[in-house]
Amino acid sequence: MYIGIDVGGTYTDGVLIDDSKVIRSVKIETEDNLSISIQQVLAKLLLNRGNKNISRVVLSTTLITNMLAGVKKPPVGMLLLPGPGINPQSQDFCSDYILLKGAVDYRGRVIEEIDFGEVDSAVRHFLDKGITSLVVACKFSQRNPSLENRIEHYIKERYPQVDVAPSNRTSGLLNWIRRANGTAFTLFVKNDYNQFVQRFEETITEYDIGCPVYILKADGATLPLEIARQYPLESIFSGPAASTFGALATTQQDITGIMLDIGGTTTDIGLILNGIPLMAERGIYVNGYLVPVRALALSSLALGGDSAITHKNGQLVIAQRKGKGCYLGGNSITFTDILVYLEKSKLSSHPKIELALQEISKNIGKTAENIAEEILNQFIARIDEKIEEMFLRWEEEPAYRIFQIISGQETRPQTIICLGGPAQSIGSILAQKRSWEVIVPQHAEIANAIGAALAKTTLKMDVLIDTEQGRYSTNLPGLSGTLSARLLSLDEAKTFALEIFKGKCAEWKLVTAGKELEDIEIVYEEGFNIVRNWQTKGKIFQIGLQIKPGLVNLLNEGTDAIE
């Protein structure tokens, strides 16, 4: 049996899945203290059933999103080692920084030494300002982490009060700004996140669940709880990943379509191509800064069922949520009310809707019906625009290899998968306009929890092996090192890469022992001759490996009634 729990902004959902069937589901309002919500959901899921045969628990949470809400500039100091290149002063770092000497080049060679006197004055500068969390970020630290690590050790020895983190242990992605920002946000949330994980572990122990427990990542992959502690940022925005994989679990595994998820205050639009969601491989924005977290490529709109309808200078506007909708007896006329009024929703009407529309009508001199139609059209137009943006993003994804360009563009999907309250009616209208097919997955209202329960544990690794420098590096945090054997051919390099990958998979509990080869695939493999003065001096290999993302199980059609 699998348990999936998704802690969302408004609701916390949980499912218990057995033999490809949802055997119990729970939906409660999320408490301020997320740990309490989790406990309540677990209690309800296991009520009168006990903890027997539970083989997997996966948690998706908005905790990090909440913690970072509104944090424009984490109170963290940055020690930056830029080396030659762009003037860092023109780049977007999320915290205050000081530039230091010391540089590494693209091959991982140290081209400038550290000046520890500079390090001392930088640390003191931040301490004087009351800042005790420091990021050390050096360009090309994934190719050679030694400068970052030496500064880390130096600070740890002399300034025990300082919490210092080198960027190479956040990510190995080629993009030092994202690594620096990601490390700053990580430092900022780390302690609170660890307390949360601690409490979650205690809860699990309380229920005596002995199976592996995972945290869902933003790309739909999972991390074992004890590993997740080190990478809090990875769990940001896992909600949309949960919903998307949930939608997949309840439709077909190889579906191609547009995912439309309309929540209370936001709408997410994604693409699923042959059962695999389109990923933002290089990272995502957190509070306006890019961080190296692999996530679903989503186009998001600050629009949802709870968005308030109002008017400004005689024009109708869809604005931020103001409160409970009229259909619930509240005082804010919302987008959902409009759908109810136009009979495009299954929810029952409420006299307050008509009254609120009359009020607007008086002010702007349009009939209630016209107002409702106009709002609906506005909403659809904005979603339409985002869908177009999503398509362009997919079609214009940069490509660096011939085969990617030759293979040509696939045709645009013509299926829309609708999640969330208003999605079905909006989806149907959009579909009609473009003659698309509409799919409303079973259990759409708890797709997120199902996705959490069934999302496969996956991992993607890019390895670069430089035989002349005798080093390898990867995109994964902290995973780089020196080569002990001479790798002469692409085959030898592949074997080596596979070994590292398997090691990580074991550490992160990603594959079943003995089944590695079934699960792991090589995404690309390239060998470059390093030629100097017409002589081959060595080779650089680039190899990409992954465990294909997907689902542990599909749901069966005939599911039991939901309690």
Partner: protein, 443 residues
């Protein structure tokens, strides 16, 4: 919309090379990739990255006589490299970007109008393909190409030698000391395009100072006078002080400076084979300069003031060269009629060597005088490789801005040529390039 953005296509062709150890191999842009990605370039608000696309065969035929045909002279990599230039050209013309950098390989500036094989690592000329595409699609007329590769842009020169509306300027290491052995000051364009081809052969050892001086004192005034609607920069980077194939002393800073002052609309990567010590830095400096960003910290680890300093003798030589061009450019230009001379026909015999493929080509070009247009262009060409294999071809080109008389005459000549060809089999292939109607035929 985003008028301040610089468009970028980065296409390293990690799966294409001439041969595994050839300078034009997969590794060439590997470290440039590392540098621009590690710097976070694709994330920058001032950069818009585009996906490459394939150029169409028509785009190639608009420029080249590929022997026997386009698919014999181009791989997918060539079509993508050219297509990348076209993609950014479109983005520029649609005002999506303020300017653009086509950081793609393989390069193209040694590819001439007739293509029997690979020369100087090039088969098809990306800049020429871009010029003809933009002129056809967007109705542009006057375009300038400034070639800052260390090698003479002989392919570009050959293609536009008789075109008065395309100004070709090439600064390069003196042809007596480096491939392709051409690019001297007397190669000034055909009689119908006199002084629309400017060569600036620089002595080996020229440093930042000389490089920037010839730009400011020769190229800039010529450009201002020509007043182009668009400037394309053949942004080769082998003038760098560490380049293994050349002997110049130019730094990333000087390349950045030149780009900042030249303000090309589209820069197209050409050569540059110091793939570690130069390319990551020079590419970055050019890109930042295009985007009007600070490139002052893009300094090669090997850089020292001495590395880019030129000898006194070189400075004096360059002084003379500048004076030569300033004089030549201030003289009165003879009339086109006078330049064509008595016979009203321009004829030239040329022998061209294809270093990569070991082919020797002998060709004869003829341009007919027309008072109203650039005139009809004919070429006959015979190529032989080391074992004596090769083709003889004949080609006729009707210029984009041909007058109606020349157009009519051109088709008559074409009919006659293929009729004769069928009887006498003088040439293996006959080509018609009608740029005016975008019609390309082969017999």
């Amino acid at each position: 919309m985003q008028l301040n953005k610089t468009g970028l296509i980065f296409f390293p062709a990690f799966d294409w090379s001439i041969s595994p150890t050839h300078p034009e191999r997969e590794e060439r842009l590997l470290y440039t990739r590392d540098q621009i990605f590690e710097e976070g370039i694709p994330d920058s608000s001032y950069i818009r990255e585009y996906k490459p696309r394939l150029a169409a065969k028509e785009d190639i035929r608009r420029v080249h006589f590929c022997v026997p045909d386009v698919e014999d002279q181009t791989t997918e990599a060539h079509l993508i490299s050219a297509g990348s230039a076209l993609k950014l050209g479109d983005a520029l013309m649609k005002n999506e970007i303020a300017n653009g950098f086509v950081m793609a390989r393989p390069p193209g500036h040694h590819a001439m109008r007739v293509v029997h094989g690979n020369r100087g690592f090039c088969n098809t000329n990306n800049e020429a393909i871009l010029v003809e595409y933009l002129r056809r699609k967007y109705g542009l007329k006057r375009i300038a190409i400034v070639d800052t590769d260390v090698h003479h842009g002989d392919g570009t020169q050959d293609i536009f030698y008789h075109d008065p509306d395309v100004l070709c300027i090439s600064l390069h290491q003196d042809g007596r000391t480096i491939f392709p052995g051409t690019g001297f000051v007397h190669e000034t364009g055909g009689p119908g395009a006199y002084l629309k081809n400017i060569n600036i052969p620089l002595p080996p050892g020229t440093g930042d100072e000389g490089f920037l001086r010839v730009w400011r004192e020769i190229i800039k005034p010529v450009l201002n006078k020509f007043d182009p609607q668009l400037i394309i920069n053949s942004a080769g980077q082998d003038n760098h002080f560490t380049d293994p194939l050349a002997s110049m002393r130019v730094s990333a800073q000087a390349y950045g400076k030149l780009t900042e002052e030249l303000q090309p609309d589209i820069a197209v990567l050409e050569g540059g084979y110091a793939i570690e010590t130069a390319l990551p830095y020079v590419n970055l400096a050019i890109l930042l300069a295009l985007a009007k960003q600070d490139y002052s910290k893009v300094i090669e680890p090997q850089f020292t003031p001495a590395a880019v300093k030129q000898d006194e003798g070189i400075t004096l030589y360059i002084d003379d060269l500048i004076r030569y061009w300033q004089d030549a450019l201030s003289e009165d230009v003879p009339s086109k009629e006078d330049l064509f001379g008595e016979g009203k026909v321009y004829q030239r015999k040329k022998s061209i060597y294809y270093d990569t493929d070991g082919i020797r080509e002998n060709q004869q070009e003829t341009v007919q005088y027309c008072p109203n247009c650039p005139g009809l262009y004919q070429v006959s060409s015979t190529a032989r490789d080391q074992v004596g294999q090769g083709n003889s071809i004949w080609g006729l080109s009707i210029p984009l801005f041909a007058c109606d008389k020349c157009l009519e005459k051109g088709y008559k000549m074409w009919e006659q040529a293929i009729k004769e060809g069928k009887e006498q089999k003088t040439f293996a292939y006959y080509y018609l390039q009608d740029k005016k109607n975008d019609n390309y035929l082969k017999e």
